[in-house]
Amino acid sequence: MSKPFILHMFTTAKNLSPFDVNMALDAGWISAVPYINVEPSEVAGLVQDVIFSRSPKGLKNTGIFIGGRDTKQAMDMLKTAKNSMFKPFTVSVFSDPSGAFTTAAAMVAIVEDELKLKFDTNFENKTVLVLGGTGPVGQAASVLAAQAGANVRMIGRQLDKTQRIADMCSQEFGDNKITIAAGLDSEKSQYIEDADIIFSVGAAGIQLLNAEQIKSAKQLKVVTDVNAVPPSGVEGLDAFFNGSAIESSTSGAIGIGALAIGNIKYQVQSLLLKKMIDNEDPIYLHFEHAFEMARQYIQSKK
C-alpha cells in the first residue's frame, strides 16, 4: 500500500490560514498537519524530523508548506528547509506567506496578458506604481514586474520604511539584479501622470486612487485592485472588472478586479500543491514559480 500524502504546514503565526488548509486537502493531500508559532530557528529540526521518519520512497508522498505573514521570513525558512535536507532524504517545499506569492503572481501574469492582448506590448521599460506596496502582495508583485523589465516604484505612507522594504526586495528577492524605487503616498500624484501600470494592493476598505488622478495619467494602460471589500482601492474599478475599460481614464486604461485575480490565484496555488505531489523530484516553490504557473495557466485557457 502506498503511504498517505502528508503536508506538514509551518507558520510563524498563531494559526494556519483555513484557506491554505482547504486548498491543500482539495489538491489531493490526505493529511494537512499544522505547526504554529514556528520560530525560523526551529525549521531545521522540524524538517529533519520530517525526512528521517519515512523512507526515500515514502518521502515522495510528503511535503512542507510555509505560511505566515512575513515574506522575508518565509523565503528564509524555505532556504533553511532546503539546506536541512540531503539526497535521497528530500521533500518538496512551497512557500506562500498570506497567499501573497500566488496572489501577486496571478495579478502580474494577468496584467502581462492584457498588455499583450490590448496594447501589443509587455512590461519592458514600463513605469509601474505599486500603491500600498509595502505589504506582502506589493513586495512580490514589485519584484515580479521588475524582473519582467519594468521600472517599479513602491508607494507607502512612510518614505524611510518604504525605501527599506524596496531595497530589501531588490536585494533579497531580486538577487540584486533589479532596483525597486520608493515614493511617498502624499506625493503619488506626480508619479501617476507618467505611470503605465498601477497595482493597488493596500489594506481593504481604503481608496488609494481616485477618478481625478486616473484622468491625469496620460499613458495609463492597466490598473489592478486586489481589494474585494467596498469601497474599492481604485475609484470606478470594482471586484468584477476583468479587462473592462475604466470610465475616468483619458488614455483608454482597463481595470482588473479582485475576483479575476482571485480566480487565477486559486488555480495557481492548487496547481502548485498538485505539482508537489506529482513531480518525480523534490521542488522548492516561491513567487517566481507561482508566476511561471500563472502564465502557463492563462495560456492554457486560450
Binding site: 498537519v33 505547526y35 520530517v50 528521517f52 521518519s53 519515512r54 510528503t62
Partner: protein
C-alpha cells in the same frame, strides 16, 4: 459507514514532532489531531473529551499519543490519561517523548543482543554500565531500562555531578530502579570511570566526540558500546554509522552504530503504533513495552 481511526496527539511543546506525525499516518491512522502546549492539568479533561465523543465501538478506532521532551512528564501524562478512562470507554495510549522511549529501547536491546552473542550468555544484570549524555531524554530512558534489567548503571553528565545525581534519584523514585550519577568533563575523569565497565551507551548531543580512542584504550573490561549519534564525529571514537557487532578499534569490544539502532527504533515505534489499533483491548505503552518489542524484533 465505518468510523475513521483518529490519533489525538498531546504535546507539551509548542508543536508536535513531524517524525511522530509521519509514523502515525504510516500506521494507518486516518486522521491526526495535534494538540500543542498541553499541560498535565489538561490531560484529564482532554482524555474524557476523547472517550465520550465516540461510542464503545468508536473508542477502539481511537488513540492518544503523548510527545514532548520531558520523559517524566510524559509518563505522568500517560498515567493521568489512563486514570481518566473506564470500561468500556477506553482508548489506547502511547508515550514516546522525542522518540526517547523507542530510541532507548532499541539501543539497549541491540547492545544486549551483542552482549549475549559474544560473551557466553552474559546478561545485562551482570554488567557495569555507563550512559554518557545520560541526562538528556534518551540517556535517562536508556539508564532506566538498563537499570530495571538489573545492570549497575550510572548516568554521566558532562558538566555537573549534582544534575546527574538529582536525575538518578528522581527516576529511581519514579520507576523503582537503581541509577547512580557521575560527572566527566575531562579525559582523566572519563578514564577513571570507564576502567572497569562492561557496556557504554553514548546518547550525547550529535556531532560531539565524547570518548577518544586514547581514552577507550583504558577500558579493559569493555564488551559492547552503543552510539546513537549519526552526525560525524562519532560520540565514541571508531564507531561506524552502520556497525552492528563490529569490532571497535583499540578495544576488545564490539560496537553498535546509530543506523542499526535507528532501524530498530523505527520498527518498534511502527509496531507499537499499529498495536494501538490492532487488539480488542486498549493498550498503554511506554519504554517498557518499547524494550520488550525491541527484544522480540531482534530475536
Amino acid at each position: 459507514m465505518a468510523k475513521k481511526s483518529i490519533l489525538h496527539m498531546f504535546d507539551p511543546m509548542p508543536n508536535n514532532s513531524p517524525f511522530d506525525v509521519n509514523m502515525a499516518l504510516d500506521c494507518d491512522f486516518d486522521v491526526l489531531m495535534p494538540y500543542a502546549n498541553v499541560k498535565l492539568d489538561s490531560i484529564h479533561r482532554l482524555t474524557q473529551d476523547v472517550i465520550f465523543s465516540r461510542g464503545p465501538a468508536g473508542v477502539k478506532k481511537t488513540g492518544i499519543f503523548i510527545g514532548g521532551r520531558d520523559i517524566g512528564l510524559a509518563v505522568d501524562m500517560l498515567n493521568t490519561a489512563k486514570q481518566a478512562m473506564f470500561p468500556p470507554f477506553q482508548v489506547s495510549a502511547f508515550a514516546d517523548p522525542s522518540g526517547a522511549f523507542t530510541t532507548a529501547a532499541a539501543l539497549v536491546a541491540c547492545v544486549e543482543k551483542e552482549l549475549q552473542k559474544n560473551n557466553n550468555q552474559k546478561e545485562l544484570k551482570d554488567c557495569k554500565v555507563l550512559v554518557f549524555g545520560g541526562t538528556g531524554p534518551v540517556g535517562i530512558a536508556t539508564g532506566v531500562i538498563a537499570s530495571l534489567a538489573g545492570a549497575d548503571t550510572t548516568l554521566v553528565d558532562h558538566i555537573s555531578e549534582g544534575t546527574a545525581q538529582d536525575l538518578a534519584s528522581e527516576y529511581n523514585r519514579r520507576f523503582d530502579c537503581h541509577l547512580s550519577g557521575a560527572v566527566s568533563t575531562y579525559d582523566e575523569d572519563k578514564i577513571k570511570l570507564i576502567a572497569d565497565v562492561d557496556l557504554i551507551f553514548c546518547t550525547a548531543k550529535a556531532g560531539i566526540q565524547i570518548l577518544s580512542a586514547e581514552v577507550l584504550s583504558h577500558a579493559k573490561q569493555l564488551k559492547v558500546v552503543g552510539d546513537v549519534n549519526a552526525v560525524p564525529p562519532a560520540g565514541i571514537a571508531g564507531v561506524g554509522i552502520n556497525d552492528f557487532g563490529t569490532p571497535l578499534a583499540n578495544t576488545n569490544a564490539v560496537a553498535v552504530g546509530p543506523l542499526a539502532v535507528g532501524n530498530i527504533k523505527y520498527k518498534v515505534q511502527h509496531e507499537l503504533l499499529c498495536s494501538m489499533l490492532a487488539g480488542d483491548k486498549p493498550v498503554y505503552l511506554d519504554f517498557r513495552n518499547a524494550y520488550t518489542m525491541a527484544q522480540s524484533l531482534l530475536k
